[in-house]
């Protein structure tokens, strides 16, 4: 028996250490990495002579992609790229739940497993400062690397600016390096079930008060009008950054509210101002009275499918989330979904927050020229037009595609889609303050929203949030 004690101890030590190993290993990568990029010029300077699509012929580009209809349209057209350039593309596709973890771990490891990848503008704030993203500005301005037909001026300017940042917390977008290129985007609007609106004699809400009223009215009255189990408005509610950025941040911004204020380069949380507290309380109340049951687990998947399954009378989220339910044959509600810009702010504001799927290049890539040619092709007019007309790559990032008769013809069957898009496109931008702690701030914000929804005092919850964030972002 005497011998057992050290045996057990050793066993326990090893077991417990083994339990910690995976995370430790995952986190261990990257220590002492290259740090901030910048300085030392760009690989784009090495490309000289006249522009030629075939300059990197025979190379292979590795891409990390998120499972998305935009991705499907890209993959369907990859052969055109290989024919045009002689460059092969290998890719991995991950579902959205794991995609960003995979990308984050991969980039932080300092390896060049992937030359190019999909990312959002918010990720630029996280991946840019450590120097993981290639500044594409020098590539764009090098006429040897970039063909004239790429036409930078054709992008909606707010979209191009969304991926442009000086890497300084609180500094506005649209200045500094171009850390990704707009590829596909989403504007946040209201989509509604025309059938239930007609039956209940409702009109799309023009103000937030109306939206709250209509949401509650649908939840109360729709089941009696033949829409069993229907509630008013589908909005996201999971404990994730993704809950804050679509409908919530759009309406919040239309009220002229800010996440942070920047004074003399110092960032201060502003989600606890009296106006922000009142708005947040109203939003939580709207969800309680007119939102989905089990709202705290709601992601865009549930919101979108509830609209399609006639469980939700309205959706305040990405227009694409409604589009994928609205197209013919996609869902029971297909053909009965219309689009509306959503409620205006007190001054008539239609400020809208956006999600932008961008394409970025790994700063550690050993294949930058080929990767740039791929980015140029994927964000070029030819592919994007094809993807929008033949695939489901809607919400064009290029003005020429949005005005293309074939695209307009395709979208005209969706009531109010084009009109809504054109109404909000110029007022849609990133409404958040760019800063590295974005994901922490918005995840905590979503948790606070859940607590307020659960009945906690909005003022004290948001004061707690603001004081917690002040120490992290200040």
């Amino acid at each position: 028996m005497e011998m057992r004690v050290p045996d057990r101890r050793r066993f326990l030590a090893l077991t417990a250490a083994a339990s910690a190993t995976p995370l430790l290993s995952a986190c261990g990568a990257g220590f002492g990495g290259d740090g901030q990029s910048g300085g030392g010029g760009s690989a784009a300077d090495d490309v000289t002579g006249s522009f030629d699509w075939k300059k990197a012929k025979g190379r292979t580009v590795k891409a990390l992609l998120n499972k998305h209809p935009y991705t499907d349209a890209l993959i369907a057209d990859l052969r055109s790229f290989t024919e045009k350039t002689g460059i092969k593309v290998e890719y991995d596709v991950f579902p959205e739940d794991n995609y960003f973890d995979k990308l984050t771990v991969d980039l932080s490891s300092g390896r060049a497993s992937y030359d190019i990848f999909m990312l959002g503008a918010y990720m630029v704030w996280q991946y840019g400062p450590p120097g993981w993203l290639e500044d594409l500005g020098p590539w764009m301005s090098n006429s040897s690397a970039t063909g004239a037909e790429w036409d930078q001026g054709d992008f909606f300017p707010n979209l191009l600016q969304a991926d442009q940042w000086s890497l300084k917390a609180g500094a506005p977008l649209g200045q500094g390096g171009q850390y990704a290129l707009p590829w596909g985007w989403e504007t946040n609007v209201v989509a509604y079930n025309t059938e239930v609106f007609k039956k209940l004699g409702l009109k799309p809400a023009e103000t937030f008060d109306e939206l709250r009223e209509i949401s509650g009215a649908i939840k109360r009255r729709a089941p009696g009008a033949g829409f069993d189990g229907m509630y008013g408005v589908a909005v996201r509610g999971s404990r994730s950054w993704a809950t804050i950025h679509p409908g919530f941040m759009t309406m919040y911004s239309r009220y002229g509210l800010k996440d942070f204020t920047v004074d003399g380069g110092k960032i201060k949380p502003a989600m606890n101002t009296p106006e922000a507290v009142a708005f947040t309380r109203d939003w939580a109340e709207m969800v309680r009275k007119g939102g989905p049951p089990s709202w705290t687990s709601y992601t865009w998947y549930q919101c979108s499918s509830d609209l399609g399954a006639k469980k939700a009378g309205m959706l305040f989220d990405a227009d694409t989330a409604a589009y994928f339910q609205a197209v013919k044959g996609a869902s029971p509600a297909a053909g009965k979904i219309a689009f509306h810009p959503g409620p205006k702010g007190p001054g008539g504001s239609l400020a809208t927050n956006m999600w932008i799927w961008s394409l970025g290049m790994n700063a550690k890539s050993k294949n930058k020229h080929a990767a740039w040619l791929f980015l140029q092709w994927a964000t070029g007019k030819e592919h994007l037009r094809k993807a929008a007309v033949e695939g489901n790559h809607i919400d064009p990032v290029r003005k020429s595609v949005s005005q293309d008769p074939a695209y307009k013809d395709k979208m005209k069957g969706l009531e109010g889609f084009i009109e809504t898009f054109e109404t909000v496109v110029d007022q849609t931008k990133i409404q958040f303050t760019p800063q590295e702690q974005f994901f922490d701030a918005t995840t905590s914000w979503a948790a606070s929203l859940q607590e307020i929804y659960g009945g906690k005092n909005a003022k004290s919850v948001l004061n707690g949030l603001a004081s917690d964030l002040a120490s992290k972002v200040g």
């Binding site: 028996m1 057992r4 004690v5 057990r8 101890r9 326990l12 030590a13 090893l14 077991t15 417990a16 250490a17 083994a18 339990s19 910690a20 190993t21 995370l23 430790l24 290993s25 995952a26 986190c27 261990g28 990257g30 220590f31 990495g33 290259d34 740090g35 901030q36 973890d101 984050t104 771990v105 932080s108 996280q126 991946y127 400062p129 450590p130 120097g131 189990g229 999971s238 404990r239 994730s240 989905p292 049951p293 089990s294 709202w295 705290t296 687990s297 590295e436 702690q437 994901f439 922490d440 995840t443 979503a446 948790a447 606070s448 859940q450 607590e451 929804y453 659960g454 906690k456 917690d468």
Partner: protein, 319 residues
């Protein structure tokens, strides 16, 4: 027990004797053999301790994506952790979860084992069914339960509807989310406890039970005075494993609630994951993991010591 053969002995053995001839093992190789035998263990230990030590070392820095060239901060990360109310909230949730899950699984597991031990053919069929949840990855089980607990389309509320309980929002309240997470854990791991307890029951000596039966002892008396004391070492092994695992839970809670609503189900592992992976504050996240490791280590040490005592006591029971 070691071979008595030496080079001289070998000579004698090879010349006479009818038994199988033993291979000559040179003295130097024999001396080396124990060291060679521990090489795999050493490699394994190194493979475990290296990342562990590296992680421990990183906790002394302020290493984060935003600070890839970190400063040495000593024990500041730990000081910060212990000074934050969010850590204590998470620690409390972790303990509640671990105690709740391990306790329910133990009681249910032993009960199921007792039932299966009594029956025969039906018991054997049930044993096979019982093992099914263990074959499902906990994260899959959690996603499956998330769908089943969905208030409007989930099967659980559908089944409860006839009893007037069709509108329960299982994971929308802090208590509901914690209880739902524990319930999923119980669903997945109770069979594990039951199987261990059943193995224990089947290995118990028969004579004390026969003697008790002859003396006319009732079921409850026999269970309290004979079955449970003799079974306890087996049950305790299950408790140790389940408690250790529950303290480190991540998959079930993250898939079911993501730590919400609010911070109500943010256990230490989830906080560590968020800090290290999502928010990319590596040193801080690893510090959380080290704290959790220390807690698991200490708690398990206490339980193992207790298990030793119980085993000694059980060994004294006449067989």
């Amino acid at each position: 027990m070691s071979s008595p053969l030496t080079e001289t002995d070998h000579g004698a053995a090879s010349h006479g004797g009818s038994g199988p001839s033993a291979r000559v093992v040179p003295r130097r190789r024999r001396a080396l053999r124990p060291y060679l035998l521990i090489v795999p263990a050493l490699l394994l230990t190194g493979g475990i301790l290296y990342p562990f030590g590296l992680g421990l070392y990183y906790t002394l820095f302020d290493f984060a994506a935003s600070k890839p060239r970190p400063d040495m901060v000593g024990l500041d990360n730990y000081r910060r952790i212990f000074g934050e109310s969010s850590f204590w909230d998470s620690a409390w949730v972790t303990v509640l979860y671990a105690v709740g899950a391990a306790a329910v699984e133990t009681v249910l597991g032993v009960a199921v084992a007792l039932l299966l031990h009594r029956s025969t053919r039906v018991g054997r069929v049930l044993e096979k069914i019982l093992i099914l949840p263990l074959m499902i990855a906990p994260v899959i089980a959690a996603i499956m339960w998330k769908l089943m607990l969905q208030p409007s389309v989930g099967v659980v509320n559908y089944l409860l509807k006839p009893f007037g309980m069709g509108g329960v929002q299982w994971t929308d309240t802090p208590a509901g989310a914690l209880l739902s997470s524990i319930a999923v854990d119980v669903w997945v791991y109770t069979p594990f406890v039951a199987i261990l307890a059943l193995a224990g029951l089947r290995s118990l000596p028969v004579s004390p039970f026969e003697a008790a039966a002859v003396d006319g002892a009732g079921w409850w008396f026999t269970f309290r005075k004979l079955t449970l004391p003799m079974l306890w070492p087996y049950v305790l092994v299950a408790v140790i494993f389940r408690f250790m695992d529950s303290l480190k839970v991540f998959d079930i809670i993250y898939a079911l609630t993501e730590g919400g609503p609010g911070d109500s189900t943010v256990v230490l592992q989830i906080r560590a994951y968020l800090e290290a992976i999502r928010f990319q504050r590596y040193s801080y996240g690893i510090s959380y993991m080290i704290v959790l490791w220390a807690v698991v280590y200490l708690v398990t040490m206490v339980l193992v010591r207790y298990l030793g005592k119980i085993q000694n006591r059980a060994a004294e029971v006449p067989k």
